[in-house]
Amino acid sequence: MKRLSAATLMLAALLGAPAQAAAPVAKIQAMLAKPEQLCGRFEQNKQLAGMKKPLASSGRFCVVAGKGVLWRTLKPFPNTLRLSRDEIVQLQGERVAMRMEASREPTVRMINGVLFSLLSGDLGQLESLFDVDGTAADGAWKVTLKARNPALAKAIGTLTLDGGAYVRTIHMVEDSGDRTDIVFSDIKAGPGAVLPEEAAQL
């Protein structure tokens, strides 16, 4: 099952031209810690179109410069998404549910880059893709990202991020009606942040 597939392909693929950095971006960049290694917990709530009950899940995530992103859903069931320079792998428990290799699918590296930027709050990189509108004051910031490319905007909708030294929440509203809220907590940076089992997976 290749289920990341075209959705994320388009996310990474349809990149717009880089624009001038808006004023808050520079401010926010200055606030962000941008450590080499970053891990923490996430609580996620999804509201799917056509379904009244929200879907709650939680787990851990890691962002390691030069290696990639690890997104470990622990509840309600284990599911791991690993993005590295050369591949994207999804593990359902122990089973490899999906593997996409950069050698076969050239957009893998781009997807990795975008997700890395998103989780580490690297707005400088995201600006090539999104119109960034936001405010920053007193060590806190909030931005709204709207894809420059209309097709991409339609596919992923609007992203809202807020945070301080790290990204604190991500709020995604898709045009299709699905909504996702992610709240990060317990964020640790530096050498001790990555758990041994996570280091093994990265």
């Binding site: 392909l9 996310l11 699918e105 957009t107």
Partner: protein, 787 residues
């Protein structure tokens, strides 16, 4: 005298009409000769559907220029590509940049109401084999996943990720990806920007080549200035056409000017005047114009190959003029030109008759191309001959020409020339030559492969190969043609073919295929798929119901989702698909309705040449599926033309023999023997030299017959070996044939080289052999007794 003058005036009127008609054709109607070599196939074998498929595959590619600008890193590649584009941007009237990444933005929009029916091959297999839990688990993971989610729409649009899998499978048909608003392809350690341009004027227009090629060179240079390590790979028909044109024009300059200079010097040395050249060119020119006019009136079209072969008429048409001029030179002052002509008319008439008979043999073949050539050539000769007969006596009086240095020295040679007799020495030489001929013939091989005629520079060919590899582009000349009574039957037959091709992909014979049925399954497949989805996923107790429970969804969610998915399962037709922007890169695959037959193309990516027999065999037994190999097809046409032409040459010898028999009786073999011997020996030398025999060698042998018979007749018409007029006419004609056609042996174009080499050897040998078969008046009386 006055009769002839009236004749000359009448002919002038005809020539004016011809000139007017030609001016109207070329300048008014702007006719263009056919270039498709398959148009030379017999009409019955020409298949409109096949023709349409060639048009779809080749013609669209003909005007395109594809460029890859690469560097070790993507930003460097972009910088180099920007420099490249900047050079071409002001010249959009010539090379227009094609819409790039933006055109692909909305490509999925057209599929929304059919998405449920679109399932990739791997998922379809999984649907048949995997247990329900597999689908439930996958859908659950999709529901909870933050980033792997269904960005093509909402979760309920594609809970099992089947449509997403299908879009990825489609994206896999090309390695090209949009990136930063450009088209990107990677490979061999480099990142490339893909740029495509459409050439506005025809790729074969000289003016377009002269502008486009330097512009592309300048753009490539700019890219390398911006990024010294940048690699620029270019491909396009215009580049090959320009390379061929450059070669041709430089050859025209060297070979053409060389031969013209040679002929001028030769004529001056013989006649102390260049006027004869002007007159002979006039005769040839009128022959050419006349042939073209009448051919156009008869057939309404003209093929380039007909013109090329027709141009070779010069070799034969000049003989009539030279024959007259040489006799004028030798004749007494008191003999008037009209009287002289009357004396020469039997010989002249026979040379024309022999040549026309020879060429008419071509008209008996079933090939329209050869028939056109036959009519064109015969008409050309008739017009040139009439020009000589009607005008030359009026234009050349008894005192016009004076014997030049060459004419004086050359006459002495003929007396001492060896002759074929029954003496032991002569027989020994003949036996030796026969042995050489036999040895050479045993070495002779044939090769009709069109690729051996290709003469594009190695760099262009390498670029083309590398570009094809990086882009994983399908070959435009080998593919499957699928036909059916309806659109849907075509799709069904494509699907049957694809089931055969899948194992071949797995075995590495090809890397994949492009087909419209990849996008639009046949109605039967769509119905089967919907039934499969209903049975395996959407049933009341299937994975969808399990998913609703696992998600804790409210009552009715499963039923609503099922209804939603079924609403997105409307039948998709080729017509509907072809109206969507997503179909743009694939439209050429669909031929649609051609005279009541529906047809499509299945194109092959990453095809190995060695696998052609395997791929050709894959179509066996599949109704409506035809393997098309245009390269092989052209080679086969060339091969059949070669065989037919060979038979025609032999038949022409027989016919010419019969035509000459009434006049020459027992000496008839002496007319034909020099040409026959020279042709046989030429073939033997080609064999010994390791040349592979192909159509253009045989075309040259046909021309050689036309030229050689003239020499034979000239030598037999004037039996006195002391009379140097025929001997001089043969020498001049042969020398100018050698200078005009023989020098083509130096050409870089393989077809012309083959033609030229055969003419070079053949004409030289006929020239040497012709006097060997003459007889003295005494001998002539003796043979007459036998005859």
């Amino acid at each position: 005298m006055t009769t002839h003058r009236r004749l000359a005036l009448a002919w002038a009127l005809v020539v004016c009409l011809l000139a007017g008609h030609n001016a109207w054709l070329w300048l008014g109607k702007r006719i263009v000769p056919d270039t498709d070599i398959l148009a030379l196939l017999p009409a019955g074998e020409r298949d409109p559907v096949l023709q349409r498929s060639f048009t779809h595959m080749v013609d669209s590619a003909q005007q395109r220029v594809v460029v890859l600008v690469g560097a070790a890193s993507w930003p460097d590649a972009m910088r180099a590509a920007d420099a490249f584009q900047a050079v071409l941007r002001p010249h959009a009237d010539l090379l227009r940049a094609d819409a790039g990444a933006d055109a692909q933005a909305a490509w999925l929009d057209g599929f929304q109401s059919h998405a449920t029916l679109l399932v990739g091959a791997a998922d379809e297999r999984a649907l048949r084999t995997q247990p329900p839990s597999y689908w439930t688990e996958n859908a659950l993971a999709r529901a909870y996943s933050a980033f792997g989610g269904p960005k093509l729409g909402s979760f309920r649009d594609d809970p099992f990720g089947l449509f997403a899998g299908w879009t990825q499978e489609r994206a896999g048909e090309t390695p090209v990806r949009p990136r930063d608003g450009r088209l990107y392809v990677g490979g061999e350690g480099r990142e490339y920007v893909l740029l495509t341009y459409t050439l506005a004027p025809s790729a074969f227009a000289l003016s377009a080549q002269r502008r486009a090629v330097p512009l592309l060179d300048a753009a490539a240079a700019a890219a390398r200035r911006a990024m010294p390590a940048a690699e620029v790979i270019e491909a396009g028909v215009v580049l090959h056409a320009a390379a061929a044109g450059n070669q041709a024009s430089s050859e025209v300059e060297t070979i053409g000017l060389g031969s013209l200079a040679g002929i001028v010097v030769l004529t001056w040395l013989t006649f102390r005047s260049v006027r004869p050249i002007g007159l002979i060119l006039l005769a040839i020119g009128i022959g050419f114009l006349g042939a073209l006019s009448v051919c156009w009136l008869l057939f309404g079209r003209i093929h380039l190959l007909t013109l090329v072969f027709g141009a070779s008429l010069i070799g034969v048409a000049q003989d009539y003029g030279l024959y007259f001029l040489c006799h004028r030179l030798g004749a007494a002052r008191e003999t008037g030109s009209v009287v002289l002509l009357r004396r020469l008319l039997p010989g002249l008439g026979l040379t024309l008759l022999a040549a026309v008979i020879g060429y008419m043999g071509l008209a008996l073949t079933p090939f329209p191309g050869l028939r056109h050539m036959a009519v064109f050539s015969a008409l050309g000769l008739v017009f040139a001959w009439l020009t000589v007969v009607c005008w030359f006596p009026q234009l050349i009086g008894p005192g016009t020409l004076r014997r030049g240095w060459l004419a004086r020295r050359y006459r002495a040679l003929v007396v001492r020339w060896p002759r074929v007799t029954a003496r032991p020495g002569a027989l020994a030489v003949l036996a030796l030559l026969a042995a050489v001929t036999a040895a050479g013939w045993s070495q002779l091989r044939t090769d009709d492969d069109i690729r051996s005629l290709q003469s594009s520079p190695a760099r262009l060919v390498q670029d083309q190969i590398k570009l094809g590899r990086l882009l994983d582009a399908p070959t435009p000349v080998q593919y499957y043609l699928v036909r059916g009574a309806s659109d849907d039957e075509v799709l069904q037959r494509e699907e049957a073919l694809k089931r055969r091709l899948d194992p071949l992909v797995a075995q590495g014979h090809l890397s994949g295929y492009q087909a419209l049925s990849n996008w639009v399954p046949s109605a039967r497949t769509q119905a089967e798929r919907l039934a499969l989805l209903d049975g395996r996923l959407l049933g009341d107790t299937g994975p969808l119901a399990d998913l609703a429970r696992a998600l804790g969804a409210d009552d009715g969610w499963a039923a609503a989702t099922r209804a939603h998915l079924r609403a997105r399962a409307q039948p998709l037709t080729p017509d509907a698909f072809l109206r969507t922007p997503a179909s743009e890169p694939w439209r050429h695959l669909w031929l649609g309705d051609v005279d009541g037959i529906h047809a499509s193309i299945v194109a092959l990516r990453g095809m190995r040449y060695a696998s052609i027999p395997v791929l050709a065999g894959a179509a066996d037994g599949l109704p409506g599926v035809q393997w098309v190999d245009k390269v092989g097809g052209i080679s086969a046409v060339l091969g059949r033309y070669r065989t037919y032409m060979g038979a025609v040459v032999l038949g022409a010898y027989a016919l010419v023999f019969l035509a000459l028999l009434p006049r020459y009786r027992g000496r008839t073999w002496r007319v034909l023997a020099p040409t026959a011997a020279a042709s046989a020996l030429t073939l033997a030398i080609l064999g010994l030299a390791g040349q592979h025999l192909q159509l253009f060698h045989v075309l040259a042998l046909m021309l050689l017959l036309g030229v050689g018979v003239d020499y034979g007749i000239f030598m037999q018409e004037d039996p006195q070996r002391g009379d140097d007029a025929p001997w001089l006419a043969v020498a001049l004609s042969a020398a100018s044939t050698l200078l005009s056609f023989g020098l083509l042996a130096l050409s870089g174009t393989p077809a012309l080289r083959a033609f030229g080499l055969t003419m070079l050897l053949g004409t030289a040998l006929v020239w040497l052999a012709a006097p060997c078969f003459t007889v003295t008046r005494k001998e002539r009386h003796a043979t007459s007794v036998y005859a």
